[in-house]
């Protein structure tokens, strides 16, 4: 049974301890709706460790294995290998579910290894753009201009001046079979992409936009609006790469990044000049993405 193409079944139940308006939980909820009951999730030290519940309670209706910070991809490949030898892999999905720090920083090496070694797993990065569980420290996916507790605003400077690492490009460079960006503000697009990952035989990657009112400093009820602005400004473009072919799934980049940035406390200190630099960077990346898509069609 489903509503607008989205399965009605729930595998993340109430009683979790996420902050109000948490994007991470919404991401996992959609992912599991698509993958269903026959799914095993493995997750490292991240917000989700705290969210899922304290022993002996859990909000999960599917098996969940906690792992160490840098080991999510290795842990997922271990689960997959064991299921294979036990003859259970064909009807079980293995999901690696990690935050941006656990994916783009400390866990990057293990992802590279597991991807190259050809494991059949779905890696989902919920990107809330900083180490939120430890109290809002910058990760390599913290965007340009954001202030965090390790990029504090001081007398001289302080905010993060470097742009986000492009995880999609890194994964595509491994000749990944399927990689996509998703955003819970676009649930139908989200679900379609997870369905493709589900059907992929081999390593697939889902990079999920994941709002964090606590770390980004905005009103929790604005989460879905925030998500739409992220995509409409091109700060978080929605696209997929299927066997090397790029496909932008939301093309209406109609708004200036200022509209997105001005709603969040983490960008409040920025000057007009710096915002212009951010805009220039986003425009350049958007143009590159369009060119990649065009090249794919040739």
């Amino acid at each position: 049974m489903n509503r607008a193409g989205i399965p009605i079944e729930e595998y993340v139940c109430s009683g979790h301890s996420a902050c109000p308006g948490c994007g991470a939980l919404l991401v996992l909820r959609y992912v599991l709706k698509v993958l269903g009951k026959n799914t095993i999730v493995t997750s490292p030290a991240c917000c989700f460790t705290a969210i899922a519940g304290m022993f002996p309670d859990t909000c999960m209706e599917v098996p969940l294995l906690y792992n160490a910070f840098e080991t999510t991809a290795a842990s997922a490949s271990g689960i997959e290998a064991a299921l294979k030898i036990k003859g259970k892999k064909d009807n079980t999905h293995v999901v690696a579910f990690a935050g941006d720090g656990g994916t783009a920083d400390i866990g990057l090496q293990a992802i590279s290894g597991a991807l190259e070694d050809g494991h059949n797993i779905i890696y989902v990065c919920y990107d809330n753009e900083a180490y939120m569980n430890t109290g809002i420290q910058s990760s390599s996916l913290t965007p340009m201009g954001a202030t965090t507790t390790t990029n504090p605003i001081g007398k001289e400077a302080g905010w993060k001046i470097t742009p986000k690492k492009n995880m999609m490009d890194i994964l595509v460079a491994h000749n990944i079979k399927y990689a996509a960006t998703v955003n819970p503000s676009y649930p139908i697009d989200f679900v379609k992409k997870v369905e493709k990952a589900k059907a992929t035989k081999g390593f697939s990657y889902i990079h999920a936009y994941s709002v964090c009112p606590t770390g980004w400093r905005y009103q929790p009820e604005l989460g879905l609006e925030m998500g739409r602005l992220a995509t409409e400004t091109g700060a978080f473009p929605l696209y997929e790469v299927e066997n090397g072919k790029y496909n932008i799934t939301y093309k209406k980049k109609t708004k200036n990044v200022l509209e997105y940035y001005k709603l969040q406390g983490r960008f409040r200190h920025l000057s007009e000049d710096f915002i212009n630099d951010v805009q220039a960077y986003i425009d350049q990346e958007w143009q590159k993405l369009i060119l990649k898509e065009e090249c794919s069609k040739k």
């Binding site: 304290m54 969940l64 294995l65 792992n67 689960i79 030898i85 293990a110």
Partner: protein, 392 residues
């Protein structure tokens, strides 16, 4: 039963094969690599039905092993030195998660300076990780101990991982005659692994979540302590059965050689024990009452067994092939602590030997016994810690 000439590395691979390991996740490192090469070959030749994970580091190797074990597969890996050190975080995780992983570790020194030769620093540094630790003396013992480890670790009362140490080159690259157990008999001795709480979509569990100070964390750790207490009696039982099935004569945590009436006893681990035994034979032929105890097990530490074995000794010399800087050799420390609660007070001295693979000859051991004799005669040790054969 087939006898083959093989190195310690090949014996380790055969141990995993006969145990029917189902997943091997490993990363190459000298002098271990041949173990996992051989296992990869067994798999590609169809002689072993297992999955081989070509991970990108030892850290990921152990992380993958933990997940495979928690999914319900019998898991094996091998490493050495720097690789074992890189695994450190996950070694704690493996015991905390109660995974009966078995690992061969080729005992090798740590850099810098680079050194690939025999040394026990790598495993001694993992003392507090909650792993059972064996040190082998022969290639046969390497193979047999791996099989016994699975039986021991998978026991419901234990549910802990074990590492089997084999000295770099002295075992890893030295060929000996090894008797390979019949697969049929081994299968009866070691039935397929059945995890008690595997990840299973039909019975979903969240495994390894957050446990608060007032809740269950202390209890989980207490249970590891209680399981470790059961290892030695369980090992004795398992080895008794193993000895009967396969015609061996393993003696649990200690290997005693001429200790009953010995005045001077050396305590050693690993391959050096062979050299010491030869020296004991020579010195006994000259009328000296000397003996040697080889620790087969370092964790859990066989305190009671050692106290019993040392009951008649007047002088104990400890051969440590590793050192805890700022203190003393690890075995020396542990042995002294064991003796503290008894009314026994033999003279005791620590000899630091074979660091970074420096050869320990019968001549070295003879000199050590001579020094022990001299100290015993003077009723006083000349120095508590002696680094032997040091050129500075």
């Amino acid at each position: 039963m087939v006898k083959k000439i093989m190195t310690g590395n090949l014996a380790a691979a055969w141990g995993a094969k006969i145990s029917r390991a189902e997943v091997i996740a490993a990363y190459p490192i000298t002098p271990q690599t041949i173990i996992v090469e051989k296992l990869a070959k067994f798999i590609s030749d169809g002689e072993l039905n297992a999955e081989y994970l070509r991970v990108e580091s030892e850290h990921s190797a152990m992380a993958a092993c933990i997940a495979t074990s928690q999914t319900g597969a019998r898991t094996f890996t091998a490493t050495s030195s720097q690789g074992l050190a890189l695994m450190h975080e996950m070694l704690h995780w493996a015991s905390g998660a109660r995974t009966p992983i078995v690992m061969a570790n080729v005992n090798r020194a740590l850099a810098p300076p680079w050194n690939i030769w025999a040394d026990h620093t790598d495993m001694m540094s993992q003392r507090d990780t909650g792993w059972i630790q064996f040190y082998a003396e022969s290639n046969q013992e390497v193979l047999d101990t791996i099989i016994n480890c699975y039986k021991l670790c998978e026991d419901r009362a234990i549910q802990l991982p074990a590492m089997v140490g084999l000295d770099a080159f002295y075992l890893s690259h030295t060929s000996e005659i090894v008797d390979i157990p019949d697969q049929d008999i081994a299968d009866k001795f070691l039935p397929p692994y059945k995890a008690f709480y595997p990840l299973d979509v039909e019975h979903p569990l969240s495994v390894g979540s957050l446990a608060m100070p007032h809740q269950w964390y202390s209890e989980f750790r207490y249970k590891i302590y209680k399981s470790m207490e059961k290892v030695i009696p369980k090992l004795n039982k398992i080895e008794k059965e193993f000895n009967k099935e396969f015609g061996r004569n393993y003696t649990g945590s200690l290997d005693l050689y001429q200790v009953e009436d010995a005045e001077i006893i050396l305590v050693a681990v690993g391959t050096v024990a062979g050299t010491v035994k030869d020296t004991v034979d020579y010195l006994r032929s000259k009328g000296l009452k000397v003996g040697v105890i080889r620790l087969r097990l370092f964790r859990p530490f066989p305190s009671e067994e050692l106290i019993k074995a040392l009951k008649n000794a007047s002088f104990v010399g400890v051969l440590d092939r590793s050192f805890s800087f700022g203190n003393e050799g690890q075995i020396f420390s542990e042995l002294k602590a064991s003796l503290y609660q008894t009314n026994r007070d033999p003279l005791i001295k620590d000899f630091i030997v074979g660091i970074g693979g420096r050869d320990i000859t019968t001549d070295t051991v003879k000199k050590i016994y001579e020094n022990c004799q001299k100290c015993l005669k003077n009723k006083k040790i000349d120095q508590e810690i002696e680094w032997t054969n040091i050129k500075v």
